[in-house]
């Protein structure tokens, strides 16, 4: 049919195509990952990559098509790829103008547990001087409603926040009252070990749509060794509490987080099974953070990044296997990363976003009115490093807190698009800036990437997820589902 032109007539018109911003990582000499500026990815063979870099690809090469489709190259003066990249980039950063959605109230530093790895250095239970005062709470609420975010979540933490339950009730009532005028999307979470859960707390949570977040480290023996309390019944109380919340308030009203210790490392399937048994279908396989008692007791040094990665990999494998059997179980760390890999959304997870989530993702109001840029920043302060102390509610205005050099400097210095080595890393779009972690481990906001456990751990997981996504159709389907959550 002479009326129709051949495919070649429409392939890239010149071999002058231009590179758009992209980064690469050699998985092996034969396998190279290429990511564009918003994290869309493709794999090239070593040969293809060399031809691409040497500009030896013919115009009608299938690889030219793939690179154009993923916005790695464009023809000169071609506008659409730029427009689409701009849209995707804007989507990725759209949370920034509406900063600080999470506000953490440390209503008491007291706790009836005495966990050796505790990251907030609990005090004994009877010291009322470690409770937040009403005046401090009021000032904290002033700050909450100064943040421009339309979504506001107030999280009560401790210590054990239920030891100061009266203040929680007052804060919830006052916040709701103020929100009648503010009209924000306001929610509440209590982070509690559930040991003190009673009818009054349950009724209050039910009446005020309050969610509960608790700790569950795995099976009873592991959990109770991690979390000593009088009676050695932390696990029993947590599990009974989870069941009560699920039965009275609804299955979605309680979630659990685990803390990983050296004793956890051989027991990931037991831990996952324990979550399933409680009806929990979301599991966050977390690394132990380098703060608080964790360092003092050498818990942190006791296992290195590689041992934790083996633990994580085994856990992820097991969770995928459960999905293969038809159980809908999600590993949250992978889900956060996959959303960043496979969509234009950044869930804004504080430890895995750039600019860092400190301050602009979360603010912490300590019992004494001190304001920290993150929960980890507070933990660091308990170790006498007050780098991330922004000021005090009784002494500083909102402007002074949010424009404090203690916030702006680490934000700017750790920003991954300008941080040395981060800026050229193929995984940058999936990763984040964690100035608090690096302050704790290396004494500056950036850290030294070649020896950073943060870096090593995350890069390993990014590779793991990408490899599984590419090679295993079943994992790909599950991952797509997690990314779309």
């Amino acid at each position: 049919m002479s009326k129709f032109r051949l495919a070649e007539a429409f392939s890239a018109a010149s071999d002058e195509w231009e590179l758009l911003p992209f980064r690469f990582e050699r998985f092996s000499p034969e396998r190279v990952l290429v990511t564009n500026m918003v994290g869309e990815h493709l794999f090239l063979t070593g040969r293809e990559f060399d031809d691409f870099m040497g500009r030896r690809l013919p115009n009608d090469s299938p690889l030219v098509r793939r690179l154009r489709a993923k916005h790695v190259i464009r023809q000169p003066n071609e506008q659409l790829p730029l427009d689409l990249l701009a849209l995707k980039t804007r989507t990725r950063y759209r949370r920034l103008p509406m900063f600080t959605g999470l506000h953490i109230f440390v209503v008491s530093l007291r706790c009836e547990h005495s966990c050796p790895y505790c990251q907030v250095s609990r005090q004994s239970e009877d010291k009322a001087s470690f409770d937040m005062s009403e005046e401090t709470a009021r000032r904290a609420l002033d700050a909450v409603f100064r943040s421009p975010s339309s979504q506001i979540k107030i999280e009560f933490q401790g210590g054990e926040p239920l030891l100061n339950f009266q203040l929680i009730k007052d804060i919830v009532a006052e916040a709701k009252l103020r929100n009648l005028e503010e009209g924000r999307n306001l929610g509440f979470v209590i982070a509690t070990n559930l040991a003190l859960l009673d009818d009054e707390v349950l009724d209050f949570c039910g009446e005020n749509d309050i969610y509960l977040s608790t700790s569950l480290d795995g099976p009873a023996d592991l959990h109770n060794r991690n979390r000593p309390r009088p009676g050695n019944d932390s696990w029993e109380r947590a599990v009974a509490g989870i069941r009560r919340v699920r039965e009275t308030l609804g299955a979605d009203r309680v979630s659990a987080l685990m803390t990983t210790t050296e004793r956890s490392l051989d027991r990931v399937t037991d831990i996952v099974d324990c979550y399933l048994e409680q009806g929990l279908r979301e599991i966050f396989l977390r690394p132990l953070s380098p703060y608080g008692f964790a360092i003092k007791t050498k818990s942190f040094a006791a296992y290195d990044a590689d041992r934790w990665l083996a633990f994580y990999e085994e856990g992820l494998e097991y969770i995928l296997e459960l999905n293969r059997r038809g159980l809908d179980v999600t590993e949250i760390f992978a889900a956060i990363i996959l959303k960043k890999m496979l969509t234009n959304d950044d869930p804004g997870y504080v430890d895995l976003t750039s600019p860092s989530g400190i301050g602009i993702g979360a603010l912490v109001y300590n019992y004494d009115g001190d304001v920290y840029a993150s929960d980890e920043g507070r933990m660091l302060a308990e170790m006498r490093d007050t780098t991330f102390l922004l000021g005090n509610l009784h002494e500083n205005s909102w402007e002074e807190l949010i424009l404090s050099p203690a916030l702006l400097e680490p934000l700017e210095q750790s920003f991954t698009l300008s941080a040395p080595m981060c800026n050229e890393c193929a995984f940058e779009p999936y990763c984040g800036a964690d100035p608090v972690y690096h302050q704790a481990t290396s004494g500056d906001y950036l850290g030294r990437k070649p020896v950073s456990s943060f870096c090593r751990r995350n890069m390993h997981i990014f590779k793991l997820l990408l490899e599984r996504y590419e090679s295993d159709p079943f994992a790909r389907e599950i991952f797509l589902g997690w990314a779309g959550r």
């Binding site: 009326k3 129709f4 098509r65 659409l80 689409l84 797509l480």
Partner: protein
Amino acid sequence: MIALWGRASQVELAAPLERAVWLLIDRETATSHRHARAYLVGDEPEDELPECDLYVTHHGRTLNGGRSFIQLPERFDYLTAGDILGFDSKGERVNVLWRHESLQNSVLLTERCDHYCLMCSQPPKNVDDDHLLDNAFELVRLLPQTTREIGFTGGEPTLYGDSLIKLLRLCRNLIPHSAVHVLSNGRRFSNLDFALDWAGIDNPNQMVGIPIYGPEPALHDYVVQSQGAFDHTVAGILNLGRLQQRIEIRVVVHKQTAPHLVEIAEFISRNLPFVEQVALMGLEMIGFARANINDIWIDPIDYRNELTEAVTLLDRKGLRALVYNHPLCLIDREVWPYAVRSISDWKNEYHPECLRCSVAHDCSGFFYSAKYRHSDHIKAIDPRGDAMHALPLLELAGR
């Protein structure tokens, strides 16, 4: 196949017809309003017929009382009151414009097009056919409030510019509850003023279906035979997205596009995630598709894996995926819930094998044109062997 075109068996007209579009009425639907109404004669005696400008009779019935009438050929016996016909001025050529019992009425607005797609089922003609648009205005004015769905196709309807906008405004005003679906190559929406005019119609039931045939310009431009088409079309979709308009992306699957289905799905989900649905469409073997059969034809069985993966990807990313024009026996079971009985009833056919198939009633079947080329793998699905799988899936389909 239901006949939509034909020649009158007998015509008696006092004068040439002054209008082309006529709504058929009968004793029950007749009112004092005679404008553009033609009385469809039933079995009543001629002297009991109400006064009317034009009468239409079924095959074999003649009127003798000096009335203007058109007698339809036998193939139009299915027509009843509520259907709308088009006649030429002599009343000899009959064209069924609207079947009130069908949910798939599609109105051709023009045969002109600025694309020249390899597989076009309605090859473009560079002719003045503005009368098709005039007829569409007439048609919409005759439609009842209860109309549920109307489709406009071409050619390229947006070539009319403002006149198309006027027609769609009329739809919003006269049949506000009806879904209004327009097929377009989307290029004109890259002009923001036109996109604004479109959005200004402000009809929540209005949707535009726009094709994308590749994840990048080279493949798309080749399929539609127009350099620069991809950039215009995607820019148009972005404009419509900005204006929060309802968009369906249509991907016709053929030999050129099938190997790239997953990439196309990835492109849409990452760059155009605001679209309402994505339809993956089987090929209709008429028009240019027949002429280019060697470059176009692919047996659906040969891309069933790609189809499954594309549908899964779209679905998991939260986009509504639809599979049009694919018989169930040629696609994977997990894709059945996405399969739609999409082939317009008038050109819908089934294969002899379908007669003993247990899921034929849920199946799209085939285009009439499948007689020119169809899959070698059409196979009845046995209820015994497959019942355990078939039952829950069919419920999910919600048909």
